[in-house]
């Protein structure tokens, strides 16, 4: 419990910002997900205690949103847009290429290093195909760019600086 101090502090800070404490639930969940990499029962109870809102209410919100996960996520979460505008420009090929490239021996790093998923529209349809890595946006994708991005990650660059 003692380790959730950052979350506790964050919540008490927000109490002076928001008049209605229910509005603190979403920011608190997001904070926890980003800070601790997950939203598990311990986190739910912590938020519940600090806001004095029953845990079941926090839980039913938390489980509704994709962002909040019970288990820790991969270090690099790659999310390729599969919606219509990207699909028209061949985003399936980007997805398949990434899958193939990261499944080659020696390319994917350790366990839970990469995850690759198809997701809905990222609001970058005019610069399709698009994908996110840990919420950093990559646009106008092609295979060469994918190679450069993967190499950049492996050489330890910050994700948002990979393509300069």
């Amino acid at each position: 419990m003692e380790n959730n101090t950052e979350l506790k502090n964050y919540i008490s800070e927000l109490k002076s910002v928001f008049a209605e404490k229910s509005t603190i639930i979403m920011p608190a969940l997001r904070f926890a997900q980003e800070k601790y990499g997950r939203v598990d029962d311990d986190i739910i109870e912590e938020i519940s205690r600090n806001l004095n809102i029953p845990p079941v209410k926090i839980l039913s919100a938390a489980r509704f949103y994709h962002f909040f996960t019970e288990k820790a996520q991969a270090r690099y979460r790659i999310e390729v847009c599969s919606s219509i505008s990207c699909s028209l420009l061949g985003s399936e090929h980007i997805y398949d290429y990434l899958k193939r490239r990261l499944s080659q021996p020696g390319s994917g790093g350790g366990k839970n290093e990469f995850s690759v998923n198809r997701v809905g529209c990222l609001g970058s349809c005019g610069t399709a195909p698009a994908m996110l890595i840990n919420n950093v946006l990559f646009e106008n994708l092609n295979f060469e760019k994918i190679d450069a991005i993967i190499e950049g990650i492996k050489s330890g660059k910050d994700i948002d600086k990979i393509l300069g």
Binding site: M26, A61, F64, I84, S87, L88, G123, A128
Partner: protein
Amino acid sequence: MVRILTKYWDEKDSHSIDVALKSGGYQSAKKALALRPQEIIEEVKKAKLRGRGGAGFPAGQKWSFVPDDNKPHYLVINADEGEPGTFKDRYIMERSPHMLIEGIIIASYAIRAETAFVYIRGEFQKAYERLKSAIEEAEQRGFLGRGILGSKHNLRIHLIRGAGAYICGEETALIESVEGKAGRPRLRPPFPAVSGLYKSPTVVNNVETIALVPAIFELGAEKFLSLGSPTDGGTKLYCVSGHVKKPGLFELPMGTNLRDIIFDYAGGIVSGRNLKAVLPGGSSTPVIKADECNVNMDFDCVKKIGSMLGSGAIIVMDDRTCMVRALESLLEFYADESCGQCTPCREGCPWIYKITRRIEKGEAEPKDIDLLLEVSENILGNTICPLGDAAAMPAISIVTKFREEFEEHIKRKGCYFDNLPLAPVLEGRSMV
């Protein structure tokens, strides 16, 4: 041509308060705060500003539904932009966040709200950071806070970040989410204007709608109206994506002809191909065929030809596009995003997705086409929110207008279109 939202996007650091102030930023707020709230609403009505979030509801009229009571009122800005094909609100927040803030000042004053929330899509990192620092800049200069610009108006703007649920773009789901709950749309009535956030009168407006408000007070309502079409004032940020040479954002008079947008502004169809079909207002709007594209892109004109202006997201498909595959992609999205509280949507959306997938893979029987139509028709109008319709409408229109492609898939036991190549050579990019 008059540009409002994109007026200073070409300038360096267009998101900073300095650029905004140099271009007359916050002058409209000053003018508006000297009026009475009712006078502001009348101006916005006269300007015929219609909601840019999809439904085209007149903004001034929406504001006038807020009762004259003693409860706190709220303004909520819908920045959850998630409808496939749409990418305008993100750019407004990234490139002219002060225009949005100025609009929020005017709108909140008109509806007598002292607290505004911007619900911003969880994935939008840059837009969030830009808007956050713009709010700080505005607070420092006294454009937000207590007694704004020497008036009696107080205002605080809060940013709330979404968490990966498309349905939270629906206004009542969004309100639930701000209240810390799962984003499940509410039954109406009561409408948010009477009982919304924390059961108080609440106005929900789209980012683009509100960012246009300062221009009404800068130019005057008549001039604003004259920029667009007679029933629909102002400019529109059209989002053009798909098989055009120059995809991107184009700020044009509301009601610009669709053919001009595709062939002049967006550079026409990618080399060597012809136009086949267009989704004129985002992925939930009924498809129109190439020969139906001579239409003025305002809410009423697009409606007249059986589709919708929606969010102004023009998705262009060339003649190598497989319409079954396109529908499969559209339906996959809605099947994943249903919040699950109405049976026709929860069961129907995945069902029509699976039928379409079967047809595309060549595993369907002839009767599946009618089944697809029947299930879609049973979703239509039978749900709490329009997400079910958003899946059913393109399904019905694509199957009806391109039925022979569905039949051919069944006859040939699979897709007979070439596998789409990766990103056909794009010959340029527009201003985005």
